[in-house]
Amino acid sequence: MTNLQKELKVLKESVLEMLKLVLKQLDKASEAFLNMDDALAEEIIHTEKRVNAMELTIDKQCENVFALFNPVASDLRFTISMLKMNSDIERIGDYADGIADYVVALNGPIDAKAVKDARLAEMFEIAYHMLDVVIVSFESDNAVLPRQVFKKDKQLNEINKASSTLIEKMVLDDTQKTREALYLFSTIKKVERIGDHIKNIAEDWIFYMDGEVLKHRKKVPKSTD
Protein backbone atom coordinates (compact mmCIF):
# COMPACT_ATOMS: atom_id res chain seq x y z
CA MET A 1 0.00 0.00 0.00
CA THR A 2 1.42 3.39 -0.96
CA ASN A 3 1.52 6.19 1.58
CA LEU A 4 -1.32 7.86 -0.24
CA GLN A 5 -3.45 4.71 -0.02
CA LYS A 6 -2.82 4.59 3.72
CA GLU A 7 -3.78 8.23 4.03
CA LEU A 8 -6.99 7.68 2.06
CA LYS A 9 -7.87 4.69 4.20
CA VAL A 10 -7.60 6.80 7.34
CA LEU A 11 -9.68 9.50 5.68
CA LYS A 12 -12.38 7.01 4.80
CA GLU A 13 -12.45 5.71 8.35
CA SER A 14 -12.88 9.24 9.69
CA VAL A 15 -15.76 9.94 7.31
CA LEU A 16 -17.39 6.64 8.18
CA GLU A 17 -17.15 7.42 11.88
CA MET A 18 -18.78 10.78 11.33
CA LEU A 19 -21.52 9.27 9.18
CA LYS A 20 -22.36 6.81 11.90
CA LEU A 21 -22.36 9.46 14.58
CA VAL A 22 -24.70 11.66 12.55
CA LEU A 23 -26.98 8.71 11.85
CA LYS A 24 -27.28 8.31 15.61
CA GLN A 25 -27.96 12.02 16.00
CA LEU A 26 -30.73 11.76 13.44
CA ASP A 27 -32.22 8.75 15.20
CA LYS A 28 -32.16 10.56 18.53
CA ALA A 29 -33.64 13.72 17.01
CA SER A 30 -36.54 11.66 15.75
CA GLU A 31 -37.17 10.12 19.16
CA ALA A 32 -36.65 13.36 21.00
CA PHE A 33 -39.17 15.24 18.87
CA LEU A 34 -41.80 12.53 18.60
CA ASN A 35 -41.69 11.94 22.38
CA MET A 36 -40.79 15.50 23.32
CA ASP A 37 -37.91 14.10 25.31
CA ASP A 38 -35.92 17.02 26.75
CA ALA A 39 -33.10 14.91 28.15
CA LEU A 40 -32.45 13.23 24.83
CA ALA A 41 -32.54 16.61 23.11
CA GLU A 42 -29.87 17.91 25.47
CA GLU A 43 -27.76 14.88 24.64
CA ILE A 44 -27.97 15.69 20.93
CA ILE A 45 -27.00 19.30 21.55
CA HIS A 46 -24.03 18.13 23.56
CA THR A 47 -22.87 15.67 20.90
CA GLU A 48 -23.16 18.28 18.14
CA LYS A 49 -19.82 19.72 19.29
CA ARG A 50 -18.17 16.41 18.47
CA VAL A 51 -19.70 16.43 15.01
CA ASN A 52 -18.30 19.89 14.37
CA ALA A 53 -14.87 18.89 15.57
CA MET A 54 -14.93 15.89 13.26
CA GLU A 55 -15.77 18.10 10.31
CA LEU A 56 -12.71 20.22 10.99
CA THR A 57 -10.49 17.17 11.28
CA ILE A 58 -11.71 15.74 7.99
CA ASP A 59 -11.29 19.09 6.26
CA LYS A 60 -7.71 19.15 7.44
CA GLN A 61 -7.11 15.57 6.32
CA CYS A 62 -8.39 16.37 2.83
CA GLU A 63 -6.30 19.51 2.67
CA ASN A 64 -3.19 17.51 3.52
CA VAL A 65 -3.93 14.90 0.89
CA PHE A 66 -4.28 17.60 -1.76
CA ALA A 67 -1.20 19.50 -0.71
CA LEU A 68 1.14 16.61 -0.03
CA PHE A 69 0.05 13.83 -2.36
CA ASN A 70 -1.42 15.61 -5.39
CA PRO A 71 -3.99 12.86 -5.92
CA VAL A 72 -5.14 12.07 -9.46
CA ALA A 73 -7.85 9.96 -11.10
CA SER A 74 -9.84 7.85 -8.62
CA ASP A 75 -7.73 9.13 -5.72
CA LEU A 76 -8.59 12.68 -6.72
CA ARG A 77 -12.27 11.88 -7.10
CA PHE A 78 -12.24 10.11 -3.76
CA THR A 79 -10.69 13.04 -1.93
CA ILE A 80 -13.03 15.54 -3.57
CA SER A 81 -16.03 13.41 -2.68
CA MET A 82 -14.88 13.06 0.95
CA LEU A 83 -14.49 16.82 1.19
CA LYS A 84 -17.96 17.45 -0.18
CA MET A 85 -19.58 14.66 1.79
CA ASN A 86 -17.99 16.07 4.91
CA SER A 87 -19.85 19.34 4.64
CA ASP A 88 -23.15 17.61 3.86
CA ILE A 89 -22.77 15.28 6.83
CA GLU A 90 -22.05 18.25 9.04
CA ARG A 91 -25.20 19.97 7.83
CA ILE A 92 -27.29 16.93 8.68
CA GLY A 93 -25.77 17.10 12.15
CA ASP A 94 -26.78 20.77 12.30
CA TYR A 95 -30.38 19.96 11.43
CA ALA A 96 -30.56 17.22 14.06
CA ASP A 97 -29.21 19.74 16.53
CA GLY A 98 -31.78 22.30 15.37
CA ILE A 99 -34.60 19.86 15.92
CA ALA A 100 -33.27 19.17 19.41
CA ASP A 101 -33.33 22.93 20.04
CA TYR A 102 -37.03 22.99 19.13
CA VAL A 103 -37.74 20.22 21.61
CA VAL A 104 -36.09 22.20 24.36
CA ALA A 105 -37.76 25.44 23.31
CA LEU A 106 -41.24 23.92 22.98
CA ASN A 107 -40.88 22.49 26.43
CA GLY A 108 -44.10 20.51 26.49
CA PRO A 109 -46.24 18.02 24.60
CA ILE A 110 -47.20 18.44 20.96
CA ASP A 111 -50.51 17.62 19.29
CA ALA A 112 -50.11 13.92 18.50
CA LYS A 113 -52.79 13.88 15.84
CA ALA A 114 -51.21 16.75 13.95
CA VAL A 115 -47.84 15.01 14.04
CA LYS A 116 -49.44 11.86 12.72
CA ASP A 117 -51.38 13.67 9.98
CA ALA A 118 -48.24 15.46 8.87
CA ARG A 119 -46.51 12.07 8.62
CA LEU A 120 -43.47 13.28 10.52
CA ALA A 121 -42.58 9.88 11.98
CA GLU A 122 -42.65 8.49 8.46
CA MET A 123 -40.36 11.27 7.27
CA PHE A 124 -37.86 10.55 9.99
CA GLU A 125 -37.95 6.90 9.10
CA ILE A 126 -37.35 7.56 5.41
CA ALA A 127 -34.45 9.90 6.17
CA TYR A 128 -32.94 7.38 8.55
CA HIS A 129 -33.22 4.65 5.96
CA MET A 130 -31.65 6.88 3.29
CA LEU A 131 -28.64 7.65 5.43
CA ASP A 132 -28.31 4.03 6.42
CA VAL A 133 -28.24 2.97 2.76
CA VAL A 134 -25.55 5.54 2.07
CA ILE A 135 -23.45 4.20 4.93
CA VAL A 136 -23.76 0.63 3.74
CA SER A 137 -22.80 1.67 0.18
CA PHE A 138 -19.85 3.53 1.58
CA GLU A 139 -18.67 0.60 3.64
CA SER A 140 -19.09 -1.93 0.86
CA ASP A 141 -17.87 0.22 -2.08
CA ASN A 142 -21.23 -0.04 -3.75
CA ALA A 143 -22.28 2.40 -6.48
CA VAL A 144 -25.69 0.90 -7.23
CA LEU A 145 -27.25 0.81 -3.78
CA PRO A 146 -27.09 4.58 -3.16
CA ARG A 147 -29.34 5.18 -6.16
CA GLN A 148 -32.23 4.07 -3.94
CA VAL A 149 -32.05 7.32 -2.04
CA PHE A 150 -33.17 9.39 -5.00
CA LYS A 151 -36.64 7.87 -4.95
CA LYS A 152 -36.82 8.16 -1.16
CA ASP A 153 -35.88 11.80 -1.38
CA LYS A 154 -38.80 12.40 -3.71
CA GLN A 155 -41.12 10.86 -1.09
CA LEU A 156 -39.79 13.29 1.49
CA ASN A 157 -40.39 16.20 -0.86
CA GLU A 158 -43.99 15.10 -1.41
CA ILE A 159 -44.76 14.73 2.29
CA ASN A 160 -43.18 18.10 2.88
CA LYS A 161 -45.29 19.72 0.17
CA ALA A 162 -48.50 18.24 1.54
CA SER A 163 -47.71 19.45 5.03
CA SER A 164 -48.34 23.17 4.49
CA THR A 165 -52.09 22.76 4.04
CA LEU A 166 -52.22 20.58 7.14
CA ILE A 167 -50.33 23.08 9.22
CA GLU A 168 -52.49 25.91 7.94
CA LYS A 169 -55.59 23.96 8.95
CA MET A 170 -54.12 23.21 12.36
CA VAL A 171 -53.69 26.93 13.02
CA LEU A 172 -57.09 27.89 11.65
CA ASP A 173 -58.79 25.21 13.74
CA ASP A 174 -57.16 26.32 16.95
CA THR A 175 -55.01 29.42 17.17
CA GLN A 176 -53.82 28.21 20.59
CA LYS A 177 -51.83 25.63 18.65
CA THR A 178 -49.92 28.17 16.54
CA ARG A 179 -46.63 27.73 18.39
CA GLU A 180 -46.79 23.94 18.18
CA ALA A 181 -47.75 24.20 14.53
CA LEU A 182 -44.75 26.38 13.76
CA TYR A 183 -42.33 24.02 15.45
CA LEU A 184 -43.87 21.05 13.69
CA PHE A 185 -43.69 22.83 10.37
CA SER A 186 -40.06 23.84 10.91
CA THR A 187 -39.13 20.30 11.86
CA ILE A 188 -40.74 18.93 8.72
CA LYS A 189 -38.72 21.43 6.70
CA LYS A 190 -35.54 20.31 8.44
CA VAL A 191 -36.13 16.65 7.74
CA GLU A 192 -36.82 17.53 4.14
CA ARG A 193 -33.48 19.37 3.99
CA ILE A 194 -31.76 16.40 5.60
CA GLY A 195 -33.04 14.33 2.69
CA ASP A 196 -31.45 16.78 0.24
CA HIS A 197 -28.10 16.49 1.97
CA ILE A 198 -28.24 12.71 1.99
CA LYS A 199 -28.98 12.86 -1.70
CA ASN A 200 -25.87 15.01 -2.19
CA ILE A 201 -23.81 12.47 -0.29
CA ALA A 202 -25.11 9.67 -2.48
CA GLU A 203 -24.27 11.69 -5.60
CA ASP A 204 -20.75 12.39 -4.40
CA TRP A 205 -20.21 8.76 -3.61
CA ILE A 206 -21.42 7.69 -7.05
CA PHE A 207 -19.24 10.38 -8.63
CA TYR A 208 -16.24 8.83 -6.99
CA MET A 209 -17.20 5.25 -7.80
CA ASP A 210 -18.19 5.84 -11.41
CA GLY A 211 -16.44 9.06 -12.28
CA GLU A 212 -19.82 10.35 -13.25
CA VAL A 213 -21.45 13.62 -12.27
CA LEU A 214 -25.11 13.16 -11.42
CA LYS A 215 -25.77 16.67 -10.28
CA HIS A 216 -27.47 19.02 -12.69
CA ARG A 217 -27.85 16.18 -15.07
CA LYS A 218 -31.04 17.57 -16.47
CA LYS A 219 -29.36 20.87 -17.25
CA VAL A 220 -26.26 19.39 -18.87
CA PRO A 221 -27.19 16.29 -20.81
CA LYS A 222 -24.37 13.81 -21.22
CA SER A 223 -23.36 13.32 -24.82
CA THR A 224 -24.04 9.82 -26.01
CA ASP A 225 -20.86 8.84 -27.76
Binding site: T2, L4, Q5, N70, P71, V72, A73, L76, G211
Partner: protein
Protein backbone atom coordinates in the same frame (compact mmCIF):
# COMPACT_ATOMS: atom_id res chain seq x y z
CA UNK B 1 -13.37 24.08 -30.74
CA UNK B 2 -10.44 21.96 -29.69
CA UNK B 3 -11.30 19.34 -32.25
CA UNK B 4 -11.06 21.80 -35.11
CA UNK B 5 -7.33 22.20 -34.49
CA UNK B 6 -5.19 21.07 -37.35
CA UNK B 7 -3.32 17.78 -37.14
CA UNK B 8 0.39 18.54 -37.39
CA UNK B 9 1.95 15.18 -36.65
CA UNK B 10 0.32 11.87 -37.39
CA UNK B 11 1.66 8.36 -37.06
CA UNK B 12 0.04 5.42 -38.78
CA UNK B 13 0.69 1.93 -37.49
CA UNK B 14 4.19 2.80 -36.35
CA UNK B 15 6.22 -0.08 -34.97
CA UNK B 16 9.85 0.11 -33.93
CA UNK B 17 12.57 -2.47 -33.45
CA UNK B 18 16.06 -2.51 -32.01
CA UNK B 19 17.46 -5.62 -33.65
CA UNK B 20 14.88 -8.34 -33.10
CA UNK B 21 13.30 -6.57 -30.17
CA UNK B 22 10.02 -4.86 -30.96
CA UNK B 23 9.66 -1.83 -28.72
CA UNK B 24 6.67 -0.04 -30.27
CA UNK B 25 3.53 -1.76 -31.50
CA UNK B 26 1.34 -0.31 -34.26
CA UNK B 27 0.89 3.15 -32.87
CA UNK B 28 -1.66 5.51 -34.36
CA UNK B 29 -1.48 8.96 -32.86
CA UNK B 30 -2.43 12.46 -33.97
CA UNK B 31 -0.81 15.51 -32.47
CA UNK B 32 -2.47 18.87 -32.92
CA UNK B 33 -1.17 22.27 -33.89
CA UNK B 34 -0.71 24.82 -31.09
CA UNK B 35 -1.15 22.08 -28.53
CA UNK B 36 1.11 20.40 -26.06
CA UNK B 37 1.00 16.61 -26.17
CA UNK B 38 2.59 14.80 -23.24
CA UNK B 39 3.90 11.23 -23.33
CA UNK B 40 3.89 9.41 -20.03
CA UNK B 41 4.66 5.83 -19.06
CA UNK B 42 7.14 3.73 -17.12
CA UNK B 43 10.81 3.65 -17.99
CA UNK B 44 11.54 1.65 -21.12
CA UNK B 45 7.99 1.79 -22.49
CA UNK B 46 9.19 3.48 -25.68
CA UNK B 47 8.42 7.19 -25.17
CA UNK B 48 11.81 8.44 -26.32
CA UNK B 49 11.90 6.03 -29.24
CA UNK B 50 8.51 7.30 -30.34
CA UNK B 51 9.56 10.93 -29.93
CA UNK B 52 12.72 10.36 -31.96
CA UNK B 53 10.66 8.89 -34.78
CA UNK B 54 9.24 12.35 -35.33
CA UNK B 55 12.58 13.92 -36.27
CA UNK B 56 14.26 10.72 -37.53
CA UNK B 57 16.82 10.73 -34.76
CA UNK B 58 16.61 6.95 -34.54
CA UNK B 59 18.07 6.74 -38.03
CA UNK B 60 21.52 7.00 -36.49
CA UNK B 61 21.07 3.80 -34.51
CA UNK B 62 22.34 0.89 -36.62
CA UNK B 63 20.06 -1.77 -35.24
CA UNK B 64 16.97 0.43 -35.41
CA UNK B 65 14.16 -0.36 -37.83
CA UNK B 66 10.61 0.91 -38.15
CA UNK B 67 7.38 -0.07 -39.82
CA UNK B 68 4.49 2.26 -40.54
CA UNK B 69 4.47 5.95 -41.38
CA UNK B 70 4.96 9.35 -39.82
CA UNK B 71 3.36 12.38 -41.42
CA UNK B 72 4.06 16.01 -40.70
CA UNK B 73 1.47 18.33 -42.19
CA UNK B 74 0.37 15.45 -44.34
CA UNK B 75 3.80 14.69 -45.71
CA UNK B 76 5.49 11.34 -45.14
CA UNK B 77 8.79 12.31 -43.50
CA UNK B 78 10.43 8.98 -44.26
CA UNK B 79 9.97 9.39 -48.00
CA UNK B 80 13.22 9.26 -49.98
CA UNK B 81 13.11 12.83 -51.17
CA UNK B 82 12.74 14.37 -47.70
CA UNK B 83 15.98 16.06 -46.70
CA UNK B 84 16.95 15.42 -43.13
CA UNK B 85 18.39 18.93 -42.64
CA UNK B 86 15.09 20.45 -43.71
CA UNK B 87 13.23 18.17 -41.35
CA UNK B 88 15.50 19.10 -38.46
CA UNK B 89 14.90 22.78 -39.15
CA UNK B 90 11.20 22.16 -38.95
CA UNK B 91 11.36 19.88 -35.91
CA UNK B 92 13.50 21.12 -33.04
CA UNK B 93 14.48 18.99 -30.08
CA UNK B 94 15.32 19.71 -26.46
CA UNK B 95 16.96 17.03 -24.37
CA UNK B 96 16.88 15.97 -20.75
CA UNK B 97 20.35 17.29 -19.95
CA UNK B 98 21.05 20.78 -21.19
CA UNK B 99 23.80 20.47 -23.75
CA UNK B 100 25.19 23.92 -24.56
CA UNK B 101 28.36 24.12 -26.62
CA UNK B 102 31.54 25.43 -24.95
CA UNK B 103 31.01 28.78 -26.63
CA UNK B 104 29.51 32.11 -25.69
CA UNK B 105 25.83 32.45 -24.93
CA UNK B 106 25.43 34.43 -28.13
CA UNK B 107 27.15 31.83 -30.29
CA UNK B 108 25.08 29.08 -28.74
CA UNK B 109 21.83 30.73 -29.74
CA UNK B 110 22.85 31.32 -33.35
CA UNK B 111 24.64 28.02 -33.78
CA UNK B 112 22.06 26.58 -36.18
CA UNK B 113 21.85 29.82 -38.15
CA UNK B 114 25.63 29.94 -38.60
CA UNK B 115 25.50 26.42 -40.00
CA UNK B 116 22.85 27.61 -42.42
CA UNK B 117 25.28 30.30 -43.44
CA UNK B 118 23.55 33.33 -42.00
CA UNK B 119 26.01 36.17 -41.32
CA UNK B 120 23.92 39.32 -41.20
CA UNK B 121 24.95 40.80 -37.86
CA UNK B 122 21.79 42.85 -37.34
CA UNK B 123 19.52 39.94 -38.07
CA UNK B 124 21.50 37.67 -35.80
CA UNK B 125 21.33 40.21 -32.98
CA UNK B 126 17.62 40.49 -33.46
CA UNK B 127 17.11 36.75 -33.38
CA UNK B 128 19.27 36.36 -30.29
CA UNK B 129 17.22 38.92 -28.40
CA UNK B 130 13.90 37.59 -29.62
CA UNK B 131 14.57 33.94 -28.86
CA UNK B 132 16.21 34.61 -25.50
CA UNK B 133 13.12 36.62 -24.60
CA UNK B 134 10.87 33.79 -25.75
CA UNK B 135 12.92 31.43 -23.63
CA UNK B 136 12.54 33.75 -20.63
CA UNK B 137 16.30 34.11 -20.29
CA UNK B 138 16.97 37.53 -21.79
CA UNK B 139 16.76 39.54 -18.59
CA UNK B 140 19.22 37.26 -16.86
CA UNK B 141 21.89 37.22 -19.58
CA UNK B 142 21.49 40.32 -21.72
CA UNK B 143 24.68 41.88 -20.29
CA UNK B 144 26.69 38.66 -20.49
CA UNK B 145 26.08 37.49 -24.03
CA UNK B 146 29.77 37.11 -24.67
CA UNK B 147 30.34 34.97 -21.61
CA UNK B 148 30.62 31.20 -21.82
CA UNK B 149 27.35 29.30 -21.75
CA UNK B 150 28.98 26.78 -19.45
CA UNK B 151 28.96 29.36 -16.67
CA UNK B 152 25.15 29.36 -16.55
CA UNK B 153 23.14 27.36 -14.05
CA UNK B 154 21.46 24.14 -15.19
CA UNK B 155 18.07 25.82 -15.48
CA UNK B 156 19.54 28.72 -17.44
CA UNK B 157 21.42 26.32 -19.71
CA UNK B 158 18.20 24.48 -20.45
CA UNK B 159 16.45 27.72 -21.37
CA UNK B 160 19.44 28.60 -23.54
CA UNK B 161 19.06 25.29 -25.36
CA UNK B 162 15.41 26.10 -25.90
CA UNK B 163 16.40 29.51 -27.33
CA UNK B 164 18.89 27.72 -29.60
CA UNK B 165 16.10 25.44 -30.79
CA UNK B 166 13.76 28.37 -31.42
CA UNK B 167 16.40 30.34 -33.36
CA UNK B 168 16.08 28.18 -36.45
CA UNK B 169 12.31 28.76 -36.35
CA UNK B 170 10.94 25.24 -36.23
CA UNK B 171 7.19 24.63 -36.20
CA UNK B 172 7.44 21.59 -33.94
CA UNK B 173 9.40 21.24 -30.72
CA UNK B 174 10.12 17.85 -29.19
CA UNK B 175 11.21 17.75 -25.57
CA UNK B 176 12.50 14.68 -23.81
CA UNK B 177 12.21 15.22 -20.05
CA UNK B 178 13.33 18.84 -20.38
CA UNK B 179 12.98 19.68 -16.70
CA UNK B 180 13.93 16.46 -14.98
CA UNK B 181 17.33 17.78 -13.91
CA UNK B 182 16.07 21.14 -12.70
CA UNK B 183 15.01 22.64 -9.38
CA UNK B 184 11.35 23.65 -8.85
CA UNK B 185 11.89 27.29 -9.80
CA UNK B 186 13.66 26.49 -13.07
CA UNK B 187 11.07 23.82 -13.70
CA UNK B 188 8.27 26.32 -13.22
CA UNK B 189 9.99 28.66 -15.70
CA UNK B 190 10.32 25.92 -18.29
CA UNK B 191 6.70 24.96 -17.80
CA UNK B 192 5.54 28.53 -18.19
CA UNK B 193 7.67 28.75 -21.29
CA UNK B 194 6.12 25.63 -22.78
CA UNK B 195 2.70 27.03 -22.07
CA UNK B 196 3.53 30.26 -23.88
CA UNK B 197 5.29 28.58 -26.79
CA UNK B 198 2.30 26.53 -27.75
CA UNK B 199 0.66 29.60 -29.23
CA UNK B 200 3.16 29.35 -32.06
CA UNK B 201 4.37 25.79 -32.03
CA UNK B 202 3.27 22.20 -31.84
CA UNK B 203 4.93 20.75 -28.77
CA UNK B 204 5.48 17.15 -27.76
CA UNK B 205 6.96 16.48 -24.36
CA UNK B 206 8.09 13.32 -22.59
CA UNK B 207 7.90 13.61 -18.85
CA UNK B 208 8.15 11.38 -15.82
CA UNK B 209 6.57 14.03 -13.69
CA UNK B 210 2.87 13.28 -13.79
CA UNK B 211 1.89 16.65 -12.48
CA UNK B 212 4.05 18.36 -15.03
CA UNK B 213 2.08 16.59 -17.73
CA UNK B 214 -1.04 17.87 -16.01
CA UNK B 215 0.23 21.40 -15.81
CA UNK B 216 1.56 21.87 -19.32
CA UNK B 217 -0.23 19.60 -21.72
CA UNK B 218 -3.54 19.59 -23.56
CA UNK B 219 -3.40 15.93 -24.52
CA UNK B 220 -1.74 13.03 -22.79
CA UNK B 221 -0.69 9.70 -24.24
CA UNK B 222 0.01 6.84 -21.87
CA UNK B 223 2.43 4.19 -23.13
CA UNK B 224 3.01 0.80 -21.60
CA UNK B 225 5.43 -1.82 -22.95
CA UNK B 226 5.51 -0.24 -26.38
CA UNK B 227 1.75 0.10 -26.64
CA UNK B 228 -0.36 3.20 -26.63
CA UNK B 229 -2.83 2.38 -23.88
CA UNK B 230 -4.79 5.60 -23.73
CA UNK B 231 -4.77 8.97 -25.45
CA UNK B 232 -7.15 11.69 -24.40
CA UNK B 233 -7.53 15.23 -23.13
CA UNK B 234 -5.12 15.66 -20.25
CA UNK B 235 -7.85 16.57 -17.79
CA UNK B 236 -9.75 13.41 -18.66
CA UNK B 237 -6.64 11.28 -18.17
CA UNK B 238 -5.98 12.80 -14.76
CA UNK B 239 -9.55 12.81 -13.46
CA UNK B 240 -11.27 9.80 -15.03
CA UNK B 241 -8.97 7.68 -17.17
CA UNK B 242 -10.85 4.98 -19.05
CA UNK B 243 -8.26 2.22 -18.92
CA UNK B 244 -7.47 0.57 -15.62
CA UNK B 245 -3.77 0.39 -16.54
CA UNK B 246 -3.66 4.17 -16.91
CA UNK B 247 -5.42 4.58 -13.58
CA UNK B 248 -2.96 2.26 -11.87
CA UNK B 249 0.03 3.99 -13.37
CA UNK B 250 -0.91 7.58 -12.61
CA UNK B 251 -2.10 6.81 -9.10
CA UNK B 252 1.04 4.81 -8.40
CA UNK B 253 -0.85 1.55 -7.79
CA UNK B 254 0.67 -1.20 -9.86
CA UNK B 255 -0.57 -4.66 -10.72
Amino acid sequence: MEESKKITIETKKISAYYGDKKVLHDIDLQMLENSVTAFIGPSGCGKSTFLRLINRMNDYIDIFRKEGDVFINGEDIYKKKVRIEELRKQVGMVFQKPNPFPKSIYENVIYGLRIQGMNNKNMLNEIVEKTLKQAALWDEVKDDLKKSALGLSGGQQQRLCIARTLAVSPSIILMDEPASALDPISTAKIEELIYNLKKEYTIVIVTHNMHQAGRVSDKTAFFLSGELVEYDDTNTIFTSPKDERTENYITGKFG
